[in-house]
Structure formats: C-alpha cells, structure tokens
C-alpha cells in the first residue's frame, strides 16, 4: 500500500535532527541522535532495531512522553501537519495526543486503567476530544469495540481490563487509539507480548483498520518479519541513529549497511532452505554511555576501515542499486550511513547469488 500520489505533498510528520538524552548519575546518555525521517499520509513506516537502539525513545519524543527528568529533548523539530510539537504547551500537546496521534504500547495491562470499565476508558477521549455527550459516546464506544472484533460489544463495555485476555486488551487499546480517528497511529512493540496466532490477528486488524480510515502507521518492533509484511518503508536503527532507510524491498532484498545485513543473517528463516549455522553479528550491543568513536557499529563490522574509526558516516542517499518499482513510486531515495556502502551492497549481492 504505497501512497504514490500523496507522497509528493507535505508529509504528515517530519522529524528533523531529533536528539534526546537522559541525565543519569553516570553522566549523560544520548538515546536518540540526529534522527530525521518523514511519515506520509496513510503510509506505514517501520522502525526496527534491537534493545537500546532508540526506537522507542524516538516514538516517545514524537508524542512528548519522554519522562522529564531524566529525559531531555535536546534539539530537533517534530512537525506534525506543519506544527512543531516540541514548541507546544502541555495542554496543546494533550489535544494532539489521542485526536491527532494515537498510541498503542506493548503491555496492554499496564496501559489500561485497572479500576475503570473499558467503556469508560473508550468514552473518555470521545468526550474530551470530540465533545460527544455521554450517550453518544457510549454508542460510539460500542461501535468501536465491534470494529476491533469484540463481539457482544454493548455488554462488554461494562467489563474491566482483568476480565479480558491479552489479545482482547490489545483490541481495546486499538479501539481507544483509533477512537478519535487520528491521522497517525504509533504501535510500539504492540504485539510482542502476544502469542503467535493472536499476534497475527492483531496485526491484520491494525493494518485493515488503518487502511480503512486512511491512518498513517508507525510500527516499532524488533521483529524483522512484521516489518517485511506490513511496512511500506522502514528505518533501521542502531545505537541511537538511523543507519539505513528505504522501502521494504530495498532494505530486505538489497541491504547496504553492514548492520542490516548482520540482522538479516542472524535470524533463522522459514522462507529459505535450512542452513546448518547462522551467521551472527560478532560482539555485543555497545553500552550507550560509552559508544565507540566514529561509526558506532565499527567494532562489530567486518568491513570497517580506518576512516570508520575517526569519522561518523552521515546518512546519505544511496542510489547505486536496484530501486525497484516501489522506490520509483514513493520518490524517496534509500539512505545508508556507511562509508563502505558500495562494497557492502556488492558483496551482499554476490553472497546471495
């Protein structure tokens, strides 16, 4: 579902040079650094990476939910429909959350209020943001529950979160997040805690509803398969920065960053013949308070050169590869942050053939 024509207009969300840090007793830790990306109307963007890569902090920064202190958004812009969210007051921001941007997190049990009925929790945003009266809000809440596949919805409005299963709770979260028809839905590891078959249900539901409502979707996950199936474009993050971005076809089929290649080689794949051994990335994820100089991936990289130690590779357009039809449609060029990208992409290609 590539939003071909709409991408030429102004993006729905523009994140520019975002930098978010945390002040800890051991010094300042920069969780997100120099992150720039767009989300267009109706498209699905994936943000993928391992623990500590900054993907969740990026999402929290967009909606201004970074706990402060210790977190500080040091600089950058988050333009949502042209307005810089970082300049809004708390009150103004509250209007954006829910009405403009909906959110779903990993733990539905801790995101829902245990002592309020789910009906109350769905009607609250409707009354606050859409100024519906109680009766109209309840009708709408029942409709929403129906929409997310909870049967007998009128009666279920009186249920409390503990009476629901994990999958049902996540359905309720989706109903709340979409209740005010936001233009953007952020799903941060929204299906990670669910069983495989329930995960598939929830993902299909999210994809169908956002397509139906024209909502843009930001999927944040460590699961490469989910991104491959659902995202139009993706950003691969490592140690606080975007290392590679492009359409799913570009990044998965013609990866050009050593980290992306390492990730793809690390996972056992059901879509390929069985190999006896995996080809993992050597070493460990670096401590964010003590990042290597130059390119943060350098100590684990088999292509690293002396240049990688002294300077940081910028995220640059990388045109020298098969772009595929999807790339031509979006008109957004793939980007890679690696000095050796040409060599890396070429050797990844020979490895495949």
């Amino acid at each position: 579902m590539t939003a071909g024509s709409t991408t030429k207009s102004t993006p729905l969300l523009q994140v520019r040079n975002l930098r978010t840090s945390f002040n800890t007793p051991d010094g300042k830790i920069t969780a997100v650094s120099d992150v720039t990306f767009d989300i267009h109307h109706g498209e699905t963007l994936g943000l993928v990476g391992e623990s500590g890569c900054g993907k969740s902090v990026t999402a929290l920064s967009i909606v201004q939910l970074v706990p402060n202190p210790p977190g500080v958004i040091e600089h950058g812009e988050v333009l949502f429909e042209g307005t810089d969210l970082l300049k809004l007051s708390n009150r103004e921001m509250q209007a954006v959350r829910g009405a403009g941007i909906g959110m779903i997190f990993q733990e539905p049990m801790s995101s829902l209020n245990p002592v309020l009925s789910i009906g109350r929790q769905i009607t609250e945003p409707l009354e606050v943001h859409l100024e519906l009266n109680k009766a109209a809000a309840l009708d709408r809440a029942a409709e929403l529950l129906n929409m997310v596949g909870i049967a007998d919805s009128k009666h279920r409005l009186d249920d409390y979160p503990y009476q629901l299963s994990g999958g049902q709770r996540q359905r309720v979260m989706i109903a709340i997040a979409l209740s005010c028809e936001p233009k953007l839905l952020i799903a941060d590891e929204a299906t990670t805690a669910l069983d495989v078959t329930i995960q598939a249900q929830i993902l299909e539901l999210m994809k169908n509803l956002t397509a139906q409502l024209g909502t843009a979707l930001l999927i944040i996950t460590h699961n490469l398969g989910i991104i491959a199936r659902y995202a139009d474009r993706l950003n691969v993050m490592y140690a606080g920065k975007i290392r590679e971005s492009g359409t799913a076809e570009q990044v998965y089929l013609n990866p050009a960053h050593p980290y992306t290649i390492g990730l793809l080689n690390s996972v056992p794949r059901l879509d390929r013949p069985l190999t006896r051994r995996l080809d993992p990335i050597p070493g460990e994820i670096p401590d964010p308070s003590d990042l290597p100089t130059g390119c943060a991936f350098r100590p684990r990289c088999r292509w690293a050169t002396a240049q990688c130690e002294t300077s940081e590779p910028p995220l640059e357009e990388f045109g020298d590869r098969n772009r595929g039809p999807a790339a031509q449609q979006t008109g957004i060029p793939p980007r890679v942050a690696c000095f050796e990208a040409d060599t890396v992409a070429a050797s990844a290609e020979t490895a495949r053939t």
């Binding site: 069983d195 078959t197 598939a200 199936r229 990730l263 794949r269 059901l270 051994r277 990335i281 050597p282």
Partner: protein, 359 residues
C-alpha cells in the same frame, strides 16, 4: 571483546540437520502418557478441590542421545509444565518418564540426586535465573560442588575456567557478578552452569527468546557446537517456530496440554498435517517482503481457550478453520499419518485407516 562462538567447535559443522535415521536405537528419554494436573481449591479454612487444570494431559515422546526435540506451543499449552515434570521439578500425576533406562516417577529425592546431574536446564530469563550475589565462577561451578565432581580446589578452578572458555567467555570473568554481564553473556553463564556436571540432556525453556536477534544467533550457534562436541540431547522449548526449525531434528506441537502433531522437522515444516500447525506456521511473518505480500495468512478466530475449561472433543475445534461437527464430540488421538509424522486430527487425510502412534 569479541565473542565469536565458532571457536568452541572442534568438529566440522554438519551439513543440514541429521535425518530421522538418527532416532533409531534406545531413546535417552522416553515419556509415556505423562499427565500433570493442577488442583483448583476453594474454601477459606477447609480447602477442597473444585476443579482440575489438566496442564499436561497424556503426552508421549522420545528423545535420543545427541538429538534435539523442539517443543512448540502458545501460552497454556503445557510445554513448560511438561519440561518441569521431566526434570523432576514438579510431580507428575500419572504416566512414565524413563531416562537412561530408569523410571523416574516414584523415585525419592536421594534416589533422584545422581540423575539430576545428567539433566541440565537453561531458562528464559538470564536476569532472573542467576543469583545476583554469587560470582560468575561460583554460579558456573556450583553443580561441580553439589555433585562432588571436583577433586581439589585447583581442579575446580580449572574446570570453571574451561567451562567459561567453552561458552565463549574469558576465564578472567569468573570474579565478576551477574550485573556486570550483558544479556547474551548471562545466557552463556546459564549454559555453562547447565553443562557443568556433564549432563546428557539439556532442557532449554525459551532459552533464546529474550535475547536480541544478533545475540540469539550467537547462542544458537553455541548450542549447536556444544551438542556436536558432547553429544548432548536437547529438549528445546520455544514459541518461535523459525528458531525451532533451525535447531530441531524433530518437532512436537502442543495445544492445551495435548500433542497435536509430532514429526521430523523437515516434514513438519514442509507439510504440516494438523490445522493448528498450519495456522502457527502461517502466522509467522518472514523477513522477505515479496514472500510476505504474496501469501495469505490463516488467521485463527478467537482467543486461546482457558486450560481450566478446555473445549470438548478436539481442544482445537473452537478455533479450527476446518472443524466439523464430529470434532466437538470425539477426542482425536495422535496417529501416524506418514513415516515420520503423527497428527491428532479427525479430518486429516488417512486418519481413519492410520495406526495409533503409540503402537
């Protein structure tokens, strides 16, 4: 710090998984009709049993020396409970567990002690399963002390150093505490401790599930190296079917306490016979956008039923895309439908004519 796992292997990596001929001969572990029930008690002063959860409801399988059996299922399927019963961390209600030719059910604690040495376990949470106040060396070496496997202090220290090296850590790390290790390193410690007493069977309960993918791959390679080196048998419990396929020779799929399908890994993934296995495989997105966008997924209706009140007949019939009326009335049994494949589905091709898998 480089932690390449490949260095620990002395043998050349095998080409592909071993085929089913490896399963001939006497099994190392033979589980028959194993059941574990949890009583649900009510009452304030006098508690009486009001119901039972059949967490594990009559399962049977074998594991041969040096072989990996993958055990797959979602929450409430009973896979962890079954594993705990096998390594005698939980009492079984009925059935038989033969390990190295000896029946474990009914043995006293002192009789079990020498047997426990032969069975190691690695848990999911490398943070929760290591004692934060013990040094890494003592965590790894504790089984040596418990089972009296070190002849002297020097022998103990050299064995601990050897174990740390085997799992890709440096012997100098023996003095550190668990909080000084990363998640992947802690799981290496967990593996070192589990193999310290030279077991013949390792139970790995979601042992790589909590790890980041780049680290998960390192641990999977380490496990394969150790298996080649020591001819270890693995009971590999996981919900991630792609990981299970990678490491397992055979795979058993559980649903609400029962086995629904068991087969050689290749057969199970190439040609799953039970509708639940088919749905599970279909539910997993692969990192290949072209493949993903061209295939339809089987999306199961509804939630997992409560194990306290499982559906009648085939437990899966309430969510099964092909269920017929008979499925709510009759319990299917696990029947051998292909040479290395058994499934418990009344509607599977050839079910009526097939022999029970027990015969």
């Amino acid at each position: 710090m480089t932690l390449e796992t490949g260095t620990t292997s002395k043998t050349a990596p095998r080409e592909g998984p071993r085929n089913s001929t490896a399963t001939a001969g006497t099994p190392l572990l033979s589980v028959r009709d194993l059941s574990v029930h949890f009583p649900i008690k009510r009452g304030f002063i006098v508690q009486r049993e009001v119901a039972r959860v059949r967490a594990v409801d009559g399962i049977s399988f074998d594991i041969h020396p040096g072989e990996t059996l993958g055990l797959v299922g979602e929450s409430g399927s009973g896979k962890t409970t079954a594993a705990k019963a096998i390594i005698q961390l939980r009492k079984a209600d009925s059935g038989s567990i033969m390990f190295e030719g000896q029946e474990l059910i009914g043995l006293s604690n002192s009789e079990l002690r020498p047997i426990r040495r032969k069975m190691g376990m690695v848990f999911q949470d490398p943070y929760g399963s290591l004692n934060p106040r013990m040094r890494a060396g003592d965590i790894v070496g504790e089984p040596l002390k418990v089972h009296g496997l070190a002849e002297s202090g020097d022998d103990y220290r050299s064995q601990v150093s050897g174990l740390l090296t085997t799992v890709g850590l440096s012997p100098g790390m023996a003095e550190r505490y668990p909080n000084e290790f990363s998640g992947g390193q802690r799981q290496r410690l967990g593996v070192a401790r589990a193999i310290a007493a030279k077991p013949s069977l390792l139970v790995l309960d979601e042992a790589v599930s909590a790890l980041d993918v780049s680290i998960q791959a390192q641990i999977l390679n380490l496990l394969q190296d150790l298996q080649d080196q020591y001819n270890l048998a693995y009971l590999f419990i996981a919900h991630d079917l792609s990981v299970v396929r990678h490491i397992s020779d055979r795979v058993t799929v559980m649903y609400l306490g029962r086995i629904v399908e068991t087969a050689d890994s290749k057969d199970l993934y190439d040609n799953p016979l039970h509708p639940y296995t088919q749905a599970l495989l279909s539910a997993i997105p692969t990192p290949n956008p072209i493949h993903e966008r061209s295939r339809d997924r089987i999306i199961l209706k509804g939630d997992l039923p409560s194990p306290m009140d499982p559906p009648t007949g085939c437990h899966f019939h309430t969510r099964c895309p092909i269920a017929a009326e008979v499925c709510s009335l009759t319990d299917p049994e696990l029947r051998r439908l292909a040479p290395n494949q058994a499934a418990a589905c009344l509607l599977a091709t050839g079910y009526d004519a097939a022999p029970s898998s027990r015969s």
